[in-house]
């Protein structure tokens, strides 16, 4: 018990929690955006991987870190565009298309990795983002370590949440996105183009997802490993439901999850030996399933989610 308390009050724990939450933050925001517009994007796991590779590879080949981030986002956008074209104007099954995109993006990423680095024993590394130092804020006790010594992409994630919330609830575009996920006929009747809005939302959402992957290879770690994403994409999908598709709750969910994951890691160190490591590693996935179950009954889902819309359909 003492050990648990010790963990919870250490600033380094919370620093780790926020760091581990960051890729989830990007992923959940991206998934939320797609689903709010009515499109389920199960390509998220593959887009994570593709973003991880694209960002890392660009830096490895000589680009700057932020250029790498941009390239990762564009990569995500391209896969998102593919998913959107198949599911929106063509109306193909969103479940199967998503799985197909995940398989495609993942295998393409692995192939490109092998293509660029044919025979390496250990994965090569890059210089990742370093934790920032903000004069004054970073030196504060506890909060300084926990919050203000994160890497730049984490701050980007928080900023994007703020931007997304503003856009979704206070701009005409956000209103249109929310409406198109509820009743596309209403949006078309007001003279807007349902297809373009949905495609746009999915493309931007996918770009965000890719940033989650890029964080893994350019910030949390500094190399690209196979099986790196390890199901984080699916966890984000579960968290989106858990958050009732609201950005505020989604952010909270991602942070809580990061905290849980960080906790489980430290607990492993403390207890270790007695319980096999795999048990701890299982916990995040089981927790995600539990989260889905608890919220399922009250799900406030976008009514038009997963229902394709064809113009003039009445």
């Amino acid at each position: 018990m003492q050990g648990v308390l010790d963990i919870l009050i250490s600033a380094s724990f919370w620093e780790a929690a926020i760091r581990i939450a960051t890729p989830l933050m990007f992923g959940v925001l991206g998934a939320l955006l797609c689903e709010r517009s009515g499109v389920l994007n199960l390509g998220i796991e593959g887009i994570f991987t593709a973003g991880a590779l694209a960002g890392w590879l660009s830096v490895y080949l000589g680009c700057g870190l932020w250029t790498g981030v941009l390239i990762a986002a564009l990569t995500g956008a391209v896969f998102g565009l593919l998913h959107a074209l198949l599911t929106v104007p063509l109306g193909l099954s969103q479940h199967v298309t998503g799985i197909g995109i995940t398989l495609f993006a993942t295998s393409l990423s692995y192939f490109v990795y092998r293509l660029s680095l044919p025979s390496v024993a250990t994965p090569p590394t890059i210089q990742p983002f370093r934790p920032v130092h903000i004069p004054g804020l970073s030196d504060l006790p506890f909060i300084g370590t926990a919050v203000f010594q994160q890497t730049p992409m984490t701050f980007l994630a928080f900023a994007l949440f703020a931007v997304a919330t503003f856009v979704l609830y206070r701009t005409p575009l956000g209103l249109a996105i929310r409406a198109v996920g509820e009743n596309p006929a209403a949006v078309e009747a007001q003279g807007l183009d349902v297809t373009l809005i949905r495609i746009g939302a999915v493309v931007v959402g996918s770009a965000l997802m890719a940033l989650g992957g890029a964080f893994l290879t350019m910030s949390a770690f500094n190399a690209f490993f196979f099986e790196m994403t390890n199901g984080r994409g699916w966890i984000c999908v579960a968290l989106t439901v858990f958050a009732s598709w609201r950005p505020g709750k989604a952010l909270l969910g991602a942070l809580l999850f990061g905290a849980f994951d960080a906790f489980q890691l430290r607990l492993q160190h403390q207890i270790g030996g007695a319980v096999p490591g795999q048990v701890f590693l299982m916990l995040p996935y089981l927790l995600s399933i539990a989260a889905l179950v608890t919220i399922a009954r009250g799900a406030d889902y976008p009514k038009a989610l997963m229902i394709p819309y064809f113009k003039g359909q009445r």
Binding site: R170, T171, P172, L173, L175, A176, R178, A179, E182, N183, A185, A186, V187, E188, A189, Q190, G191, L192, I197, D300, K303, K311, G312, R314
Partner: protein
């Protein structure tokens, strides 16, 4: 009448044609609308009225023909096709039959949707609120701007649909079957609003298949049949029988119900309670008795519990309290139990609940009888038996189709309904629940359904008829009950009921005394 014969033309359609594959929806239609006029577009279901309006509003693109709209200076200008945005900009607004509203957003948000450019940062709800308020004052239409649409009544939703287009500055209004879901009193209220609007200089196209209303409100009537315009004349002096004949193309003889002495109670519901959800009423201590050999009609505005009642009788909804008995035997509700016990159900929405589109006619017919020997042996399907069954159903119910193995989604609405009727009556049910059985059907199919329901009644079947079409209800029923706010009124003999009385009861403003 506000318009005069030489009022300027504000809308001109010439030679409009539209095909969907082999189906000719519109052909060579010419239509003019004058300022301040209420033009009624009359035709049975499937005549092409909605298609024409969808072309006008930009949901569809016509294959042939032109549309011209009067601009600010009164000159007729060609309308860009296939763009609701262009139609709205030209001053055309459409009030859809199935409301185009986002249920989880508020009234104000629905109105504002699409009115500001997507690239702009400001939503300006305050400004919109003020503008909406002024508009409500001018038009006499009133809705709470901050109410969630899901919590509005049907009448309020329609008002919102009208306000939406007025907000966009529409000068031409197209209303698609606006009275289908209204009580008689609400219909009168709507007509008052429409007259007020044309008094303000708007022009209105009113689509309907209901003759009475059309004659009451319209200045001019255009009749569509089979995609073509077959008449275009002033409403004054128009004869109902003649218009009906023009709509259908032949003499129409309505089905006659002959009085019949009913038998003993067959279907009895006692004290049924079902909790409500999403702000819709549940069922509250509903009791009813349907006698064998009678048709009990149930009237009510959508959202008052009819769907729940249909669900209880059909077995898809389990009541919290109360019991259901068939010929004295208590039934535990499940669709299977109801079917087995002899309750035949005609669903409200044949596409959603009635048939499985990618299965064949034969397979759909077999769906309710998967436990019967006629369909299976030891779990294996008997294809030849199923086929024969389908062939006789096709013959007896005159289903127009290539054959029993046709995928059912390729059939027209009327033919799908015939298959459903075949499925219901094949099991010789003791009770039939007919929920909106003629919705969306043309007059021929409608008459057919009426005929079969009356024939079943004459055979001693107890029929529960739920219908928004009060004329249909009064024509077919022996007794009538009204559903309001989850409660069912005591049944009244149909001779003792008028349309007006029903309307008042449906609005909760009169008792069944």
């Amino acid at each position: 009448m506000v318009t005069t014969p030489d009022a300027p033309v504000v809308l001109s359609l010439r030679g409009i044609g539209k095909c969907f594959g082999a189906l000719v929806a519109n052909e060579g239609i010419d239509l003019d609308l004058r300022r301040g006029e209420i033009l009624a577009l009359l035709g049975e279901n499937g005549a092409g009225k909605t298609t024409l309006m969808n072309i006008l509003f930009g949901h569809y693109v016509a294959d042939e023909g032109t549309i011209r709209v009067a601009g600010a200076n009164g000159e007729l200008v060609a309308l860009a096709a296939g763009s609701p945005h262009a139609s709205l900009a030209a001053g055309i607004g459409m009030v859809h039959q199935h409301f185009a509203l986002a249920e989880s957003l508020t009234v104000l948000e629905n109105v504002v949707l699409g009115t500001k450019p997507l690239g702009s940062i400001k939503l300006d709800l305050a400004g919109a609120r003020a503008k909406l308020s002024a508009l409500m004052h001018d038009s006499g239409l009133d809705v709470d701007p901050d109410r969630r649409v899901s919590r509005l009544t049907v009448g309020e939703k329609q008002r919102l649909e009208i306000l939406k287009v007025l907000y966009r500055g529409a000068r031409i209004l197209a209303l698609d079957e606006p009275t289908a879901v209204l009580t008689p009193q609400e219909v009168d209220g709507l007509f008052v609003v429409l007259r007020r609007l044309v008094g303000n200089g708007l022009s209105i196209i009113f689509i309907s298949h209901k003759l009475k209303e059309v004659i009451a409100i319209a200045d001019r009537v255009a009749v569509l049949r089979g995609g073509r315009k077959v008449a275009d004349r002033t409403a004054e002096g128009a004869d109902r029988a003649m218009l009906a004949e023009l709509m259908v193309g032949r003499e129409v003889t309505p089905t006659k119900r002959l009085p019949r002495a009913p038998g003993l109670p067959r279907l009895v519901l006692n004290g049924i309670d079902v909790p409500g959800a999403h702000g819709r009423s549940g069922l509250s201590r509903v009791s009813l008795e349907v006698l064998s050999g009678e048709i009990l009609g149930i009237a009510g505005v959508s959202g008052n519990g009819q769907t729940l009642l249909a669900g209880v009788i059909g077995g898809t909804i389990v009541p919290g309290n109360g019991e259901l008995m068939l010929d004295g035997e208590v039934l535990t509700p499940s669709p299977r139990a109801m079917v087995r016990a002899g309750i035949g159900r005609i669903p409200e929405d044949r596409h959603h609940e009635g048939v499985v589109g990618s299965l064949s006619i034969a397979e759909n017919l077999a769906l309710e009888s998967l436990d019967q020997d006629a369909v299976q042996r030891f779990g294996f399907l008997r294809f030849e038996a199923m086929r024969q069954r389908a062939l006789s159903a096709i013959r007896d119910y005159d289903v127009r189709c290539p054959g029993p193995d046709t995928l059912i989604r390729l059939l027209s609405g009327g033919n799908i309904q015939k298959v459903i009727l075949a499925r219901v009556f094949e099991r010789a049910p003791r009770v039939v629940l007919a929920n909106q059985p003629t919705r969306g059907l043309d007059i021929g199919a409608t008459t057919d359904v009426h005929r079969r329901l009356l024939a079943a009644r004459d055979r001693g079947v107890a029929v529960v008829l739920m219908s928004e079409d009060l004329d249909e209800l009064l024509a077919l029923s022996d007794r009538v009950s009204v559903m309001v706010a989850g409660r069912l009124s005591a049944p009244m003999a149909v001779e003792a009921v008028t349309l007006e009385r029903l309307g008042l009861m449906m609005a909760g403003q009169a008792d069944a005394a």
